[in-house]
Amino acid sequence: MAGPSDIAPRAPLTARVNQALRRVPAWTLYIVGAGWGGWLFWLAATGGLGVEPIEALEHRYGELALQLMVAGLAVTPLRQHLGLNLMPFRRAIGVLCIFYVVAHFLVWAVLDVQRVAAIWADIVERPYVTIGMAAFLMLIPLGLTSNDWAVRRLGGLRWRKLHRLVYPAAVLGALHYVWLAKGFQVEPLVYLLAILGLLALRIRRGRARVAG
């Protein structure tokens, strides 16, 4: 852990931001994050998301999951490269990401596809759904072990190994979005590039560590 004295002379701005962030308890993120999901649902139910609320809500939840995935993957590089410490919020970001993946899945299955046979057929026959489901399944154990008890139970090393599943899950999640778009669309590619970029930073760092 870097103490405040290490950071202050190097980057006064990030130090000040870090100091301010330390006063924000992580649980506020859960309240805001989950509350936003509920607010979107209310909007969808009352006409606030346009004339096709099912598709709108499904996409909003899916995009939020991807945005939180990008945010979660950015925590480590931001600390290493800019000295910005978002570590206290990483768990909340990750848990909220899974929260929105579950919400996205439920809207898709219950409100959109609606029939069990059709849900199963989509998962088996449609590759973009298959990889989306694969990403979802990979995230489930990560969600279940995002608590102090599980970390103690698994031990730091095994816990970190397990949580490397987030890397393939993130790539599959982004591909899921790219694949379902019609024509050449920019937005899904932005998420894919952001995720690949954040993973590339880790590979470089890993190599540097091995070489050093």
Binding site: A44, T46, G47, G50, E52, L111, D112, Q114, R126, K182
Partner: protein, 301 residues
């Protein structure tokens, strides 16, 4: 064509204007659920096929020239200059030339056609179009012997269409029909919706409507019509031939590779609406099935 098409839907099926214009206000109010229930009941009493509201038809659009999100066309299409408007009619016709919009519609009988509209993305609406039969226009310009297809082209105006700055599709948007499809009495050139001038986001000032085909065949804002003896270039078909066929007839038995076409979601049902079964040829089987007699519709999808 032996007889003109007569819609089995009438003005009685159309929601009263006050109702379709006000539905939004009622929907967005605090009593959304209650309001939706009341409107639903009133509309149900008027017949099974209730046209979608003006708001639904004009705010949920696929018109990639103005952006790929459903709300983009309503937001961006106001920049399109629709007057003056010209259409080049060329190829195998007796009277080729550049026709103004006024010349095109002069002498045409503008009719009300309440059609189902089924998007390839598996959503649908019912739209009360105003327009005239394409056959009437083609007869006026004189189709020459040997012409077998009709090609259409959408305007391409980078200054007015923010979406075309990106290569989402190979612009300009193009579509085509076989001549017998084009001459079918169901096929219309639409210039209005609900008796109003067609909004830009819906393809102003003039668009094609082919109700038994997926929506993307019904090309918008047409600037060129070409009669030809070769199957014309069709944008989606050329972009992903395994996903979008040249024919693209609505067919619940032939799935899109990435999603099922067996069911559809009718726009306007809200968050808890049920899917409904997609009909063969979008419900126009009696009128158009003969066009495809002997064809394997799974091969020519």
């Amino acid at each position: 064509m032996a007889r003109r098409y007569t819609s089995d839907l009438t003005w009685d099926d159309v929601t009263p204007k006050a109702l379709y214009m006000n539905r939004r206000q009622i929907m967005s109010g605090a009593g959304a659920m209650l309001g939706a229930g009341l409107i639903g009941g009133a509309a149900q009493a008027q017949g099974a096929l209730e046209p979608n509201s003006w708001e639904e038809i004009t705010t949920y659009n696929n018109y990639y020239e103005f952006g790929t999100r459903k709300e983009d066309p309503a937001r961006n299409a106001h920049t399109l200059t629709t007057s003056p408007w010209e259409i080049v009619i060329d190829g195998m016709v007796d009277n080729p030339g550049t026709y103004s919009f006024e010349e095109i519609v002069a002498g045409q009988t503008i009719e009300e056609r309440i059609y189902r509209f089924r998007c390839v993305e598996a959503w649908s609406m019912v739209i009360p179009w105003n327009g005239f039969e394409l056959a009437d226009l083609l007869e006026r310009v004189g189709v020459q012997d040997g012409a077998r297809y009709v090609a259409f082209e959408t305007a391409l105006r980078p200054d007015e269409m923010p979406g075309v700055r990106l290569p989402v599709l190979d612009w300009p948007y193009r579509e085509g029909l076989r001549l017998d499809e084009a001459m079918h009495p169901l096929t219309i050139m639409a210039t209005g919706i609900y008796g109003e001038t067609i909004p830009n986001q819906n393809g102003a000032p003039i668009r094609l409507v082919v109700p038994w085909k997926y929506g993307f065949k019904s090309i918008k804002s047409i600037v060129r019509i070409t009669l030809t003896d070769e199957q014309p270039h069709a944008t989606w078909n050329a972009t992903q031939p395994d996903e979008y066929g040249f024919y693209s007839n609505v067919n619940p038995n032939v799935n899109h590779p990435r999603w099922s076409q067996a069911t559809e979601r009718r726009i306007g049902g809200g968050l808890f609406a049920s899917r409904q079964d997609t009909l063969m040829f979008n419900g126009y089987e009696a009128e158009v099935a003969a066009l495809y007699e002997g064809m394997d519709l799974a091969e020519f999808f």
